[in-house]
Amino acid sequence: MAAVDPADLEQRWVHSHEEDTPSGQVFRPASFPFPRARGRRSFELKPGGRLVARDIGPDDRGVTTEGTWELQGDELRLHLGAGGARVYRIEAASRERLVLRAPSA
């Protein structure tokens, strides 16, 4: 895969689970016309390394956690403080579509 440009990543990414593949999770910008869902995970990669993650909460509301993010080669690391770190391998990245391999895959 070609080197990932960090500038492509700096936006809010929302899980487009309808497009997931067996090995990859697909994320789209918040402006993407998503269909209805019981919940969607998202994370915002801000310039300067600040991270705002929004997970599905136990009562279906979003739960926001702040942290930091970094890009090392094709590895995206999300640091969520007490929530620990999530490390993903980037399978594809553009301004319109981000594909991450799940941590366990």
């Binding site: 209805r36 919940g39 969607r40 995970r41 136990p58 009562d59 279906d60 509301r61 979003g62 366990s104």
Partner: protein, 199 residues
Amino acid sequence: MVADARLQFKLARKDPSGKATSGITRTRTTEASFSDDDSVKSSSTGGADPWPADTYLNIWVCTLSDGLLGYAQFPGGPRPTDGVVILNSAFGSAGTATAPFDLGRTATHEVGHWLNLRHIWGDTEDCTGSDLVSDTPNAAGPNFGKPEFPRVTCGNGPNGDMFMNYMDYVDDDSMLMFTPQQVVRMRAAIDGPRQGVKS
């Protein structure tokens, strides 16, 4: 493996002041949509105030932003926001309801939360979370759409995730059951913190 919750809900026949009611109120709003911040639950923010939550289950039906189907509140939360919120296009099986959320299952799911049920995957995106129920298999995360059987995660083979449970995230026509231990948990809620709603 499948259990009947033995719970039925009826529209209220008396409002908080004792007057006859259809159990449905309609509120005109200038808000284009509501988020999951409880603003639909107060007339001061464009919504409708709840009826006393110790004796009524409040269900707000409205337009929600970001495609969200609904959200709930567990027993023991603040009374002024107690109840469930459901997207108008995912409520019931007629009228504004549209596929694949047109069988009333969003209300089933949200009222499950209102009766203290957790998501089938235990609310973590790995295998460490629990739904606090012993007869549902451990699962890694939510399932969506119409999954193909089996969906094995967290070593839960051969049958895999119980994605057909009302407390997963699948389409309405793909969820169809509670387990006996989920029913035990709901009965504990309706006999405990929710007992004022019983007739």
